[in-house]
Symmetry: C2
Subunit: 492 residues, 2 copies
């Protein structure tokens, strides 16, 4: 399947649409609770869905699926490993051993028609063969990102013959998948956009099952990708603008402002608070160029200089990350890091000086409107554009690019970072993401400190700023924004 | 060959010695110009030595070999690729097309009895098959580190049958190999200690040929290792205490002192200047504990706190680097990075604010004695000990540990960094080292900023400081120091 046809699909059950994107269209399915009556038909023979794992994604997806399928004859069961510390929380959320909706992972795996694997990547790498061995004949394997495909390729393994393999990949953390679903209950649903992929489809129902799964999660819209395209963009994204680069941006800018004379509170406001607050909000509501347009003339000049100084070093790093992910090197590193965790616990990242200022800044929020800092805005937007352009050059579909580079950042992750802090946020993501952020965050920090910030006083590069103004991503983001639910996530 | 027997050897030509190290002895050969008359016998049938490549190592080794073999019937020829920009410099150093000591690389390769491959790692990865195809029957392949073995393992390749494969690996950069050789000409030689390895030995003369090569380079002493042990310790070392960690140390400490109120000059003196000046000199002359002993009571307490806060995060990183090198992941990353260099030039690392202070600090040197900063000393020594302990745990011989972790740092690299600066230094090493420093330097910086420095005010961990005081490395370093030449490198 080529990059241009990968995103075309039809459905026997749901009314798909064509979304205009630069250079053509992409097929999408608009979500909504009005589609829930079609779920049993679309799940095509699936009467028991097993969710293995109770991390943030497992918890959110099991609860949303169960709620969306209430009143149908499809049951959702959660499978946990023996001695799992998640048992109590799963019971609190209403899953019960007595009615067969909570049980041992291999028992649940053996009984499911659709088995959704949401255990940690390293566990999946270590234990997928054990799970594959007990699958019900004809059962469909469900994934929420392509890590396992990368691992199988790196180790010469394969998915078992005769089973469908589909993926539905929410473009946001598990907690936001659940939280938005609940917050959107009264407005025909809300949630996190998802991509889907059909990797193996022996009975021809893969697309409809994937769409049903995505609709039941509450996805505002669902687009098609491939497992390979998904895992590349997903792993690159979390190492770059979603987590790793954000951490590097705020650590480097905080020190930059402190050394320029700001006290800790002001430096925090100009760096971390600026990114998670006004910059994220502006992009979410009005797109990337609006960040610059809201500045006065001097601010725009400062933005242009900062953007020009940052774009190339950020792009170099995103290209490096992409190469390592595509080559399998990054996944091997994650597996090595997981093995070390038995003797060397994951390091803390919230200990640096800047976090001491967070509480005071949060307390000052009240009704104040924080002005956008042009230097910070230029660094952030240039890094975001570096990821957009690198994914576009590598042939990813526009829906994947804007969701993985922009929407997931400004509508899911940054609001959480704003409510808590960046360090807290990083450590509430998957272990693969946490490890990747530790690997790449410091690289971004060093690139800003050593290359971008020292050059940020030089005249702007008009070729770069013109390319930003004319980028097709603005059109793609606007098209996706039309499908945005009418509720902003609230992180109380 | 086990770790305990790997370092035992005998020679039919040279008088080897047993050096006491913790837990036993290691066989070594003490160098000296008095051994030069034995070189033709030890080279055992080698009448033509080819050196392929004219980077810092190629240049230094070709010149030293040629000078040491002057008056014998062994010739040294330099082989360069067509259009090489190094041609003029090779001619300036006395190599000539007319007398057959300078020529096309494949011609030189085809005519050599010992062919020493000193082209860049990536070139070696890409072109070793072309070279192997033209080798003279029975010719010995010479390497100066084990990168090619790592690459062959990662790609399923092999050294050609019927050829000896030996390595002599100077524990210092090429320029110091040449500079010390010249500076030691009047005192029976000086130079950089080397390890050697005999990987394939079809005619049984591998050990003597390797020893002859090492003696001719001017190595004060030569110890035995394996290609695998060498490349692991070498690549880990340059990513950690030799280059990467030093860069991370000075970048993080400079900012730390600036934020604590020092002006740029004082912050530079307390960080970069301190490491490359008094700390390196003290370790070189009197060993690691002397750094602490020279401090007053308050300084010792500050050192202990800094050491305690730094050791574990530094050790975690060295362990991570070791895993990546042993797994082949690091070498794959280097090859990917080399491929990107065609479209994305290597980034600058000398642009950060601290380097602006270097000139003024250098100008102030005069007769002043700079006091050791206890915080900086604790961070540096703890990181050095982290590498020592990790290499010891992974079974490396003591000579390799002390040369790769301490002697190469304080007697070769840090004096260069002192004369120039750290950023300049990094970029005059091999591309593999330059790329590795860019990958790992920021990781060390982040570990110091986020973990070590915030904890450096807490009470010392007496278990860690006692382990430092009692470490067997001090005995191993003292044994190696007895073989140190009586000349310090002078970097004019």
């Amino acid at each position: 399947m080529s990059a241009t046809t990968a995103n075309v699909f039809t459905s026997a059950v749901f009314p798909v649409e064509e979304m205009s994107v630069p250079g053509g269209t992409e097929t999408i399915l608009r979500g909504g609770r009005n589609l829930f009556p079609q779920l049993p038909a679309a799940f095509a023979g699936v009467r028991r869905i097993g969710v293995i794992g109770w991390g943030p994604q497992g918890r959110a997806q099991a609860c949303n699926l169960r709620d969306s399928l209430a009143g149908t004859d499809i049951t959702v069961a959660v499978g946990l490993r023996p001695g799992s510390s998640s048992l109590a929380d799963a019971r609190r959320e209403g899953f019960r051993e007595q009615d067969g909706t909570l049980g041992d992972w291999l028992t649940v795996a053996a009984e499911s028609d659709l088995l959704i694997l949401l255990i940690a990547d390293a566990a999946l790498a270590a234990q997928h063969e054990e799970i594959f061995a007990v699958l019900k004949p004809g059962a469909t394997i469900g994934l929420s990102h392509g890590f396992l495909l990368g691992h199988l390729r790196a180790t010469g393994g394969a998915f078992p013959e005769g089973h469908g393999v589909i993926a539905v990949c929410p473009k946001g953390m598990g907690d936001s998948v659940r939280r938005l679903y609940l917050q959107g209950a009264e407005i025909n649903g809300a949630g996190i956009n998802s991509s889907f992929a059909v990797h193996a489809d022996p009975d021809g129902h893969g697309v409809d099952r994937a769409l049903a799964w995505s609709v039941a999660l509450g996805s505002p819209y669902t687009f098609r990708t491939t497992l390979e395209s998904e895992y590349r963009s997903d792993i690159v994204g979390e190492r770059a603008i979603l987590l790793g680069a954000v951490h590097g941006i705020v650590e480097s800018l905080f020190r930059h402002f402190r050394l320029a004379g700001d006290d800790a509170v002001l430096a925090y406001e100009r760096s971390c608070e600026n990114v998670t607050g006004p910059i994220a909000r502006t992009i979410s509501r009005d797109g990337l160029p609006a960040v610059r347009e809201l500045l006065d003339a001097a601010g725009r000049e400062a933005f242009d200089r900062s953007y020009s100084a940052t774009y190339r070093p950020a792009r170099d790093l995103v290209a490096e990350i992409y190469d390592e992910v595509a080559d399998g090197t990054e996944i091997r590193s994650v597996i090595l890091a997981e093995q070390r965790l038995t003797s060397r616990p994951m390091t803390e990242i919230g200990g640096s000086a800047m976090w001491a200022a967070a509480d005071e800044v949060h307390a000052r929020r009240g009704g104040r409107t924080l002005a956008t800092d042009p230097l910070t805005a230029g660094v952030f937007v240039a890094t975001m554009m570096a990821q957009v352009d690198e994914l576009a050059e590598r042939g990813h579909p526009w829906s994947e690019i804007v969701n993985e580079s922009i929407i997931e950042a400004v509508d899911s992750l940054l609001p959480y970072m704003h409510a808590r802090n960046v360090a807290f946020m990083v450590d509430n993501c998957s272990r693969t993401a946490r490890l990747g952020t530790r690997r790449w965050g410091p690289r971004f920090q060093a690139a800003y400190e050593q290359i971008a910030l020292p050059a940020s006083g030089r005249p702007a590069d008009t070729a770069l700023t013109a390319a930003f103004a004319a980028s097709p991503v603005h059109e793609a983001l606007a098209a996706a924004a039309k499908l945005r639910p009418s509720v902003d996530i609230s992180v109380a």
